[in-house]
């Protein structure tokens, strides 16, 4: 790469791009992006993880490709170009899922397609990739993908644990607890609790980081 500034690949600035979406700049709980798909696939841990990985891959590569193309795109068809690149990547991911993790791809069904309109990806393309070099854009994509993934995995973990008493499909709550009168809370698996759980995550996050509180 003919990077004239000779900036190291993992300079402090680049590392910050990668890690800031984990917490203070989390795409889901702070920027409120990409909620659409975040909630629908989190009733179980496994689809949640596959979904996060897919979003991370699409986000990183869409950022990389758009950043490489950024000086050639005619401004009038900018949005369409972005959508085409993202849609093509999503189709690739979908084809790979169908070929190698067929069970999970059946569970995700239409939600893989919805990665196209995941606002995180479009948001990062507009806000970052179109004005930055490929490598930082790639890191930014990975970072935001992971930030999104963290929330999905946390949600998937608690919803599956409390709703079905399992983790990754394995029973973790011993029978003895059920004998005491404990019951799985089926409501956790239904859509409304996903929304309420995100509300609670936001609450916890903002109680710890007061600077994020809205006026």
């Amino acid at each position: 790469m003919s990077n004239k500034e000779k900036e190291p690949f993992f300079s402090a600035k680049n590392m910050k791009l990668l890690t800031s979406p984990f917490g203070a700049n989390n795409p889901v709980t702070v920027q409120i992006l990409g909620i659409c798909s975040a909630l629908a696939v989190t009733a179980k841990l496994k689809p949640a993880l596959v979904m996060s990985l897919s979003v991370m891959v699409v986000c990183a590569f869409a950022n990389l490709i758009l950043s490489l193309m950024r000086n050639t795109i005619p401004s009038r068809i900018r949005i369409i170009v972005q959508l085409v690149v993202v849609a093509a990547l999503v189709i690739l991911v979908d084809q790979f899922l169908k070929a190698f993790v067929y069970d999970v791809s059946k569970q995700l069904s239409v939600f893989v397609g919805l990665i196209i309109t995941n606002c995180i990806i479009m948001g990062r393309l507009e806000a970052f990739a179109l004005n930055n070099k490929p490598w930082p854009s790639f890191l930014d994509g990975i970072g935001n993908g992971i930030g999104y993934g963290i929330i999905l995995v946390v949600l998937g973990f608690f919803r599956e644990l409390l709703g079905a008493g399992t983790i990754w499909g394995y029973k973790v709550i011993p029978e003895a607890v059920y004998d005491f009168g404990y019951e799985n809370n089926g409501l956790m698996l239904l859509p409304p609790m996903a929304l309420i759980s995100v509300g609670i995550i936001i609450w916890i996050h903002r109680s710890r980081d007061k600077s994020l509180i809205e006026k």
Binding site: P74, I80, V85, Q95, K98, A99, Y102, S109, G186
Partner: protein, 248 residues
């Protein structure tokens, strides 16, 4: 070069579309066989499942891989497969039967008198014979389908596997649960030589003592009605074949 000119924009769009289309077509063509294996494996395991010859745990722990395990079991237990027409005659071989399985929707879209539908015959280690009939119908949101296995008398149901594309989780989607599928075992599709099928009745326990009914799922009535139409409607297409075979 002027990046805002119409020519540039149009050429840019054309080149981009060509590249994207080429990449997608290549990948789709490359992955197609692998995806097909997955789909075939799912069908084979469902067929075996309807006669309780498929163990999911064993399959995923098999060192040769799930696909190979299912394929081996399928070859071992499914002794015959063919297509039957509306007069109950054999019209196609095993390969044709499996191909039609992938296009059941098309097969059932044909006029009743022109339908050619697949039948599978299994024989387990004890030598017990089962006839497996694929069925296809419409649930609440999308297609439902399944496999109905009849015992050697071609009357008593020995097992059922149901599946669906997008029924409501926790309600209609419960048709795939063993509690619902299990209800079919032991039910009979003929009432004194007359075909009646198995219907779905509302309310827990409402089907008790009835040889031709199962309980519906609470909150999943429309899906269950779809399953009922599928079981009665599709099985009636097989009646000529069943009658013919029973006479032998």
């Amino acid at each position: 070069m002027n990046k805002q000119s119409n020519t540039y924009t149009i050429f840019y769009a054309i080149i981009m579309v060509v590249i994207v289309a080429a990449v997608l077509a290549v990948v789709a063509a490359w992955l197609k066989p692998i995806q097909q294996v997955n789909i075939d494996t799912e069908k084979k395991s469902a067929i075996l499942g309807s006669v309780s010859l498929y163990n999911a745990e064993e399959a995923s722990n098999d060192p040769a891989g799930k696909d190979a395990y299912v394929d081996k079991a399928y070859k071992e237990f499914i002794v015959d497969a063919f297509l039957v027409n509306s007069k109950g005659e054999r019209v196609g071989d095993a390969t044709a039967a499996f191909t039609v399985l992938g296009e059941l929707k098309v097969a059932y879209a044909a006029e009743a008198s022109k339908r050619e539908l697949p039948v599978f015959i299994s024989k387990d280690k004890a030598g017990k014979v089962n006839y497996i009939f694929p069925v296809y119908g419409k649930g609440l949101w999308g297609p439902v389908w399944g496999y109905i296995a009849l015992g050697g008398d071609l009357n008593t149901i020995s097992g059922v596997v149901l599946d669906h594309k997008g029924e409501t989780p926790g309600l209609g989607a419960e048709i795939t649960a063993p509690e619902f599928e299990g209800q079919y075992i032991g039910k009979k599709i003929f009432n004194n030589e007359e075909f009646v099928g198995v219907v779905v009745t509302k309310g827990a326990g409402s089907s008790e003592g009835n040889d031709h009914a199962v309980d519906a799922i609470t909150g999943g009535t429309i899906t269950c009605r779809g399953v009922q139409n599928m079981v009665v409607g599709c099985m009636s297409d097989y009646v000529p074949f069943i009658k013919k075979t029973q006479l032998k």
